[in-house]
């Protein structure tokens, strides 16, 4: 499948287009600056229930409940949030719930805040140990293809899929912002 390459700042639009293609109806998130445009797109869509979570692990339950009711749900979080989910991920594995988790990375390439580094450096390993298929996106050109492939594996195959959006893609967070 070939679609026009998005310009660098519009890669969240490519993710949203994939959500529409596969029929995502619920999106749970703990906000991250890197997800702000995608969150706004989901909030503006009357066909998507956007659910702001108090902690990321709540989203795992949301995904399971949505699937029981016949809907597809995706989760948006930053890398630190993955650590909050570890035990709850067992729900996906025990019952075979498919899910896409889009993880904006902190604690890598150019990170200004050392407190983000310990979780950021183990995020992908933790996801793999929890049973996820993981894919990293470093370039805006790859967002559409990788998110599309991940969605198909997750929702056609009932598999947990995590897509790590690299800090180099999102842009370094500026200390002054």
């Amino acid at each position: 499948m070939h679609t026009p390459t998005p310009i660098d700042t519009s890669w969240p639009d490519a993710i949203y287009a994939q959500f529409q293609r596969v029929g995502i109806r619920q999106v749970g998130y703990v906000p991250d600056a890197g997800h702000s445009r995608l969150i706004a797109l989901c909030q503006a869509d009357p066909g998507i229930a956007d659910v702001v979570l108090t902690t990321e692990e709540e989203g795992v339950g949301l995904v399971a409940g949505a699937a029981l009711g016949g809907q597809r749900a995706a989760l948006l979080m930053q890398s630190s949030g993955v650590g909050n989910c570890i035990n709850m991920f067992s729900l996906l594995r025990n019952c075979g719930f498919g899910c896409v988790v889009l993880v904006t990375m902190r604690g890598e390439f150019g990170e200004f805040n050392p407190w983000q580094v310990p979780m950021g450096t183990i995020t992908e390993d933790v996801l793999r140990l929890a049973g996820f298929l993981t894919y990293r996106v470093e370039s805006a050109d790859d967002v559409d293809d990788i998110v599309g492939a991940g969605c198909d594996m997750a929702y056609e195959g009932d598999l947990p899929v995590a897509i790590l959006l690299a800090q180099r893609l999102i842009g370094r967070k500026q200390w002054t912002k």
Partner: protein, 191 residues
């Protein structure tokens, strides 16, 4: 006056019709099974703290159906933030019944926060639940049953159960089987 958990759950799930039930790990899952195994029961055996959120995802996906979450005080306290999350979406078809014996029954009856006066009813109301109440008499069961079927949600009921140790009634434990049975039953039934 405290409730017998098995009597109370049996009465609130009597003639349940199309009600969808999510039960929290430990005794609430055994209570739901003891009231009568049903394909529209989603039994949890783990995922502590997540029961109410599963109810939320289900209630949002199926606004045409009523959803009852049946869980314990330990599970609800672990997922206390989910009361705020539910209070944002305010699904009218969701009710959460906390079977509150103020103790961790699976692990040796250690006291939970509710035994010190932490108030789940007040917490739910502060989190924008449309209704929240305590139930401590078996005569309340009929009202609670009505709330599950017709009350305007989100609703929280704190059911003050006694801490008697009752025999375990073990339902299906294979998560894939529980999920598949639930989905098939939901899709096959009218509504």
């Amino acid at each position: 006056m405290m409730l017998d958990r098995r009597d109370f759950v049996r009465q609130i799930l009597a003639d349940r019709g199309d009600l969808l039930v999510v039960s929290g790990l430990g005794s609430p899952t055994y209570d739901a099974a003891a009231a009568g195994d049903h394909p529209l029961n989603f039994y949890l055996w783990g995922a502590m703290g997540g029961t109410a959120m599963i109810g939320l995802g289900l209630a949002l996906a199926r606004p045409d159906r009523r959803v009852a979450v049946l869980t314990g005080d330990g599970d609800m306290l672990m997922g206390l933030g989910s009361l705020a999350t539910i209070g944002v979406k305010r699904p009218r078809n969701l009710a959460v019944v906390v079977l509150d014996n103020a103790h961790y029954g699976e692990t040796g009856m250690q006291a939970s926060a509710t035994s010190f006066g932490v108030d789940l009813v007040a917490t739910a109301l502060a989190c924008r639940f449309r209704q929240a109440r305590a139930a401590s008499r078996i005569a309340d069961a009929a009202d609670v049953r009505q709330l599950l079927h017709r009350g305007e949600g989100p609703i929280l009921v704190s059911a003050r159960i006694d801490d008697a140790d009752v025999p375990r009634v073990l339902p299906l434990r294979d998560g894939h089987a529980i999920k598949q049975r639930f989905i098939e039953a939901l899709n096959c039934r009218p509504g």
